[in-house]
């Protein structure tokens, strides 16, 4: 019978579970603006801050400069900041990057493939992924003052040895 797998597929589609603390980060790959490969699996051994953002999301744009300074400051200690842009219009994304001064690698995901894999609960959502590839902190939304909690989660992950 063909019915069972079809209904199972429907049910599965309806209940794609969100990536949460303690789970391994989905193994995704893409390319950044310069065409360089970005593979989460290749970043084992480093702490990854993965930020999902879009130009139409005001708090996302508010957060980008903070992430830029985190990237600059903590990169030597083992942090890699990666943005995932969800704009369908690439020009809008490029303009937002220019305006916010963010220069960390950004993967362009207009189809929402990465967003689907992580099942984002909100926009923006960011993930602290530790050196072993496990999600350690989920930052859902962004308000001024959230920087401290984000920094604390990153610092805690940086202190661990791989």
């Amino acid at each position: 019978m063909i019915r069972t797998p079809l209904w199972a597929a429907l049910l599965f589609a309806a209940s794609a579970s969100a990536a949460t603390v303690g789970q391994p980060a989905p193994a995704l790959a893409g390319t950044d603006a310069g065409g360089a490969a970005v593979k989460l699996a290749d970043l084992r051994g480093r702490v990854v801050y993965l930020d999902f953002w879009a130009s139409w999301c005001a708090p996302c744009l508010q957060a980008l400069p903070h992430y830029q300074s985190l990237a600059r400051e903590l990169e030597p200690r083992g942090l890699t900041v990666i943005g995932v842009n969800l704009d369908r219009d690439r020009a809008l994304a490029d303009r937002a990057l220019k305006r916010t001064g963010a220069s960390f690698p950004v993967v362009f995901d207009p189809a929402g493939r990465w967003a689907q894999a992580f099942a984002l609960p909100a926009m923006p959502t960011s993930y602290v992924i530790d050196r072993s590839g496990t999600i350690r902190h989920v930052q859902s939304g962004f308000r001024a003052g959230d920087e401290a909690a984000i920094r604390a989660a990153i610092e805690a992950a940086l202190k661990e040895t791989p």
């Binding site: 019915r3 139409w56 704009d87 967003a115 609960p121």
Partner: protein
């Protein structure tokens, strides 16, 4: 199997109609022209006029009205 195929196909195809918009798909909905109230000040003035003039019918859950001073 065969009589079930058509409704099953319809259910599969129409599943997209009922699926809620995901947070990362709100691009067009986030545009200013998609706001229910485009201009907050104009909306407040319109509301003031509305509940003053239509207060007698209990609009916005307040009885009375008419002078626009509440």
């Amino acid at each position: 199997m065969k009589p079930l195929a058509a409704p099953l196909l319809a259910a599969l195809l129409l599943a997209g109609c009922a699926a809620p918009v995901k947070p990362w798909q709100r691009e067009l909905l986030a545009r200013p022209e998609m706001a229910l109230e485009g201009d907050a000040l104009a909306a407040a003035q319109r509301k003031q006029t509305e509940f003053s003039k239509e207060g007698s019918s209990g609009d916005t859950a307040l009885a009375g009205g008419g002078c626009g001073c509440n």
